[in-house]
């Protein structure tokens, strides 16, 4: 089990990868982000993007999935997130792109009132060309080590 106490600033982890298909892009966009450049390959060709691109919220969801899987591999005691500082969609994501995740811990601090702590980290998704397509700085909460030092800062 990996607790809040085990995260250290500077630590980076490679997340897994996911190859996004046109069918996935269309299915997500038709349900949640039905703009022509996400839902209609023909209209997308005529748009400023020159072809079908994934909804930014879809790319975020894929990165979330890669993060959850990493947490599960590490048996990290994650208990959700209060929010994100920033999220930038830097490059279009297109059918067939393979997205890989990576994350770096920026800082950690304990809750004053609950047996949890906070981890601020940068999380990025890169495509198969090594270009960062999505960059997020966000906060995750983890339970503290039950037998760990009580007033660690």
């Amino acid at each position: 089990m990996k607790y809040w106490d085990d995260f250290k600033a500077g630590e980076s982890i490679a997340l897994g990868s996911h190859t996004i298909t046109e069918a996935e892009i269309l299915a997500f966009a038709r349900k949640y982000d039905p703009q022509p450049f996400h839902t209609d390959p023909e209209a997308a060709r005529r748009s400023i993007f020159g072809g079908l691109i994934a909804s930014g919220w879809h790319t975020c969801a894929i990165l979330m999935r890669l993060g959850v899987e990493a947490n599960q591999r590490e048996e990290a005691a994650a208990t959700g997130s209060p929010g994100l500082d920033s999220c930038r969609w830097l490059k279009p994501v297109r059918p067939g792109d393979t997205l890989s995740g990576r994350t770096e811990v920026l800082e950690t601090w304990p809750s004053r009132s609950k047996p949890i702590g906070f981890v601020r980290r940068r999380v990025e998704a890169l495509n198969q060309h090594g270009e960062v397509v999505l960059a997020i700085v966000g906060i995750t909460m983890y339970r503290r080590r039950p037998d760990g030092p009580g007033a660690r800062t």
Binding site: K31, A61, C87
Partner: protein
């Protein structure tokens, strides 16, 4: 159609109605956020949330659906660069009905003559008027 020139700091828009179902919460979570408190009612009861809650990213997806239905048809936008300061404030549960209040906070001219960036703060509320999520989107508007 509202172009960059037509939106003013302080403008407020209220729109959308999204009924959150248990089936959709679980379906989204299976695909993108398979944590027990999003997937399994029994496990969720035992968690600190006391019951099934939607993935925060799912709330974001429901938000963008309302935006695309109600704002995109009447605003000359061409996507967004991203967002800042997203807060997941309250859990979203099955049966909740979400809506949006958006406020124009800032207009940024930028380098390109044909477009500008507009910072829009959006508050997603439930049927009790409680804000469940807020964020500041960086939306690209075309100029007239």
């Amino acid at each position: 159609m509202k172009y960059f020139e037509d939106v003013a700091v302080g403008d407020i828009m209220r729109f959308g109605r999204y009924e959150v179902t248990k089936e959709e919460i679980v379906e989204y979570a299976r695909q993108f956020d398979p944590q027990p408190f999003h997937l399994d009612e029994e496990a969720a009861k035992a968690s600190l949330f006391g019951g099934l809650i939607a993935s925060g990213w799912h709330t974001g997806a429901m938000f963008i659906r309302m935006v695309v239905e109600h704002m995109t048809p009447v605003h000359a936008t061409t996507g967004a660069m991203g967002f800042d300061d997203l807060k997941w404030i309250k859990p979203v549960r099955p049966g909740d009905v979400l809506s949006v209040e958006s406020e124009i906070k800032e207009k940024v001219e930028g380098r390109r003559p044909d477009r500008g960036t507009v910072k829009i703060e959006s508050r997603i509320e439930n049927q009790r008027g409680e804000v469940v999520m807020s964020l500041v989107s960086l939306v690209i508007y075309l100029r007239r």
